[in-house]
Amino acid sequence: MTAATAAPGTPEVLIRTPAEIRRSRYLGFTYLFLAALVLLLFYRWSVDLGNFTFKLARPTDPSAPDLTLSAGRTTLIVGAVLAVLGGIQLSRGFGKATNIVLGVGLTLFIFAFLAWATAQSSLGQFSFVGMMNQTIVRSAPITLGALAGVMSERVAVINIAIEGQLLAGAFVAVVVASPLTQTDQALILGAPLGNWIGVGAAILTGMLLAWVLAVLAIRYVVDQIIVGVVITIFVGGMTAFLALRWLADNPQLNQAPIFKAIEIPLLTKIPFFGPVLFKHNIFVLGSFVFVALLTILLFRTRWGLRARAVGEHPAAADTLGVNVYRTRYLNVILGGAIAGFGGAFFTLGSVGRFDENMTNGRGFIGLAAMIFGRWHPIGAMAAGLVFGFADAMAQTLGILQTGVPSEFLGMAPFIATILVVAGLVGKARPPAADGQPYIKQ
């Protein structure tokens, strides 16, 4: 309030609250810690190793030159830059650029790590383009799950049933698509018609589960966390049972073609970025579309304004004639549709068959992505990409054989994520009425 009343013309005084000062200090020491890691470990290990190579194109991709650098020099420079960043952060800070600088710093750190890991490997190189492509692929279901959460929590209904919605979508998609694709069919956007019907069925399943959540949470005011957990456990048990007792005896019901990557004219021909960003199946491309669509819907349309009002202050929306209950039902169910679509990815977009508990917690990671993304579709995608990257990098490190058990290396990105989120991102603010049922007087 005081900042807003500052007289015009007076130079803006940077008011730093204790929390901000603490965060700034935490950041500064984080940079110094990372710099020490890079200089004392990566640099020392890689100084005698020679060069490393990041491949920016695979044989089938549009050609792009390789990136070859000296591992010793790279780690030394990165370490020095991180130390300087830490010094600046501690002495005067970066003001509004703080978060951007943080992103750059973390990227540099990971780059130095990969430089060493590649240089020490007997391969001496790895497919950077492949890793980035996998990052996007693996982020898609997480992003879609997070978007389902955004839809629901923006109208203040907590949906922790996303995991269940994904799993149910995965199951139904393949069970519907398999019998319909026994014969050869023309491909529509990378898959036969039967697959599309499977996706449709998955979407309906997601909506049905969302409707159950909505009725219990909105009409019967049951605790939303409990409803979400119950739905997830129910779907987990049910699909496991059916997979074991039914699909095991009818393998023809659990065998569908998968959606192939789509060649988008021009875009997929761009060196490096084409294969990384655009050469994907409809689920990955769909996640991009949904992010854009939801961002526009939530922040540029009448519907979005009302939905957000319902999530922030339902009583205010109600007194202005906005139907709180209808808005909540609609959003929760649309969120379920997105989750169902995301669920189909696990079977029809990936392996073409259903396995027990194959979503493996992605729905919960999606929820985390929603929170780190501050309940914004674009933030949700950014967070989804971080998790996707962690996944893809763990896979890469397995190939490079770093000598450190791959399980530990796989953990590193998650630990980095936890550090970043716990201390650096700052406190995210959920919709004010999140999780509170609205009871009309």
């Binding site: 309030m1 005081t2 807003a4 609250t17 204790p18 929390a19 540029r300 349309t301 009448r302 519907w303 304004l305 009302r306 957000r308 009002a309 922030e312 202050h313 009583a315 205010a316 929306a317 109600d318 007194t319 202005l320 004639g321 906005v322 004010a432 007087q441």
Partner: protein
């Protein structure tokens, strides 16, 4: 000319007759004051008019036509606009977004918001009625007075002819109240019909053309400001003559009891809410703390009573350092605490009166021996205090939640004052209770003083602070910005300090 008429409105809630055959009429270019105590049925009546409740009997007539409202949407369409006591604004939305919510201008197909047009409309109304406001400001960043303007613009944007204001001055500083009255008169002059709901006598006398008084759900009479005065209105409201002025002798301050030095306290978000204040309260003196809500009073009281940790500075009670003492340690220094929110922190609502009475001493003689409670002793104490403090209740074994606000407050005062007390820290001691109970609690406070206790009274009701205090401290933005001798200062002077002017 538009007229709005309520005829024979009756509304029953389980066990309560909230409105009993109420008639009311208001026309364009007129301000009608609707006066009544808390719980008299004002808000129920207005919620019926705004379509939030359905009346059991009676009709709403607008320009001679009988209307039925099935929701606020219908009421809005009929030209009724309401400015709620607790603002119905989305804190993270901009002024413009709040104004247009529900009736958004859009462009093209697909319902895309036309924010440019919306802003234009807000500016237009803002100019036409002299309600200055920045259309792009975010609600949570602007002061309450401006938020109220946004509420008014919201109502005007929906072309309301009948404007209802529910306790609009409760959250405003005296200067903001004056400004608000200016706005009210402006609206009246431009032909709007206004219903102004309040329990403040001075305000209806100042601004209303006619005054209707509700008591226990029924309309007990009407008056004009010319033909009545505060005493007359209070009598209509309460049903018996009321003493409006606190009768007290000059104070004779003794030794310092509470000494606060350079106190800094952080709020829940770790921002300093109290920024280095120092003051002393002596035995036999009432020190009042005035200020608009949210200027650090809550945090001050919480830190003095041990409910919130002190970031720096010191608090001494009768010579002992209690800066980091627990609430119980402070309690055992003979400190009474009447908390700000009686239902949240003053009482355990489902507990009986007896249980609430012994909450502060249940762990010790005479209420417990070893691990066993002596309920007989507890009940005896409760019965004594209920009698002595005039709590109107059928018995001591009923839950606190079934008492009226005034009687709940009396239970707290009874518990806190009903033992040997040297220091009283009372926050909003009479918020939202009836005039009769206010009168009673004020008497007790003065009595405590005359018995030699030190009292710190924090209140956002300026009249209350002025009536009770021997010394007045004004808090603004976490600091004490002014100090006055009681009885030597006007409301306008204090009001300026409350707004931060020095």
């Amino acid at each position: 000319m538009a007229t709005l008429e309520l005829k024979g409105i009756t509304k029953r809630f389980p066990g309560v007759l909230a409105n009993d055959q109420v008639d009311l009429k208001v026309s364009s270019g007129e301000i009608l004051g609707l006066l009544g105590e808390n719980g008299a049925g004002k808000t129920t009546l207005m919620n019926i008019l705004y379509g939030l409740y359905n009346a059991d009997e009676g009709e709403i007539i607008i320009d001679g036509e009988v209307k039925t409202f099935n929701g606020p949407g219908d009421a809005i369409a009929a030209g009724i606009g309401m400015v709620h006591q607790h603002f119905m604004l989305v804190p993270v939305f901009s002024v413009t977004e709040n104004v247009v919510l529900g009736v958004e201008p859009t462009k093209g197909a697909g319902g895309f918001l036309d924010i440019a047009k919306a802003k234009q409309d807000v500016r237009q109304i803002s100019k036409e009625y002299g309600l200055e406001v920045d259309p792009d400001a975010i609600i949570e960043d602007i002061p309450v007075g401006i938020q109220q303007r946004v509420e008014i613009i919201k109502v005007l944007f929906r072309h309301a002819e009948f404007l209802i204001f529910d306790e609009p001055t409760a959250v405003l500083t005296p200067q903001e109240v004056e400004e608000f009255f200016g706005i009210l008169n402006g609206l009246k002059d431009s032909g709007k019909a206004i219903i102004f709901i309040t329990h403040k006598l001075k305000e209806v006398l100042e601004v209303c053309d006619r005054i209707a008084v509700l008591r226990r759900g029924a309309m007990v009479g009407e008056a004009t400001p010319e033909a009545t005065n505060e005493e007359g209105l209070a009598e209509m409201m309460v049903g018996r003559p009321v003493e409006l002025v606190v009768d007290k002798a000059k104070s004779t301050p003794g030794d310092p009891v509470l000494e606060v030095t350079d106190l800094i306290v952080l709020d829940d978000r770790d921002h300093p809410a109290v920024e280095g204040i120092s003051f002393t309260v002596h035995a036999g003196e009432i020190v009042g703390v005035a200020g608009v809500q949210g200027n650090g009073q809550t945090e001050l009281v919480e830190s003095l009573t041990g409910l919130r940790s002190v970031a720096s500075g010191s608090v001494m009670i009768r010579g002992t350092d209690v800066t980091h003492a627990t609430p119980r340690q402070i309690h055992e220094h003979s400190v009474a605490h009447v908390p700000e929110d009686r239902q949240r922190s003053g009482l355990v609502m489902p507990f009986t009166i007896t249980e609430n009475i012994v909450l502060d001493g249940y762990y010790d003689e005479p209420y417990s021996a070893g691990i066993k409670m002596d309920w007989k002793a507890a009940r005896k104490k409760a019965e004594e205090l209920v009698e002595q403090y005039d709590v109107r209740t059928p018995g001591t074994e009923i839950p606190a939640s079934s008492l009226s606000g005034g009687n709940q407050q009396k239970v707290i005062v009874a518990r806190e004052f009903g033992r040997d007390v040297k220091l009283v820290i009372a926050s909003q001691p009479t918020r939202g209770i009836d005039v009769g109970s206010i009168e009673y609690i004020h008497e007790r406070i003065v009595e405590e003083r005359d018995e030699g206790s030190a009292l710190l009274i924090v209140s956002t009701e300026l009249d209350e602070v002025m009536a009770l205090s021997d010394r007045i401290l004004v808090m603004f933005d976490g600091r004490i910005v002014a100090e006055y001798e009681g009885g030597t200062v006007t409301a306008a002077e204090i009001g300026l300090s409350m707004a931060g002017a020095s």
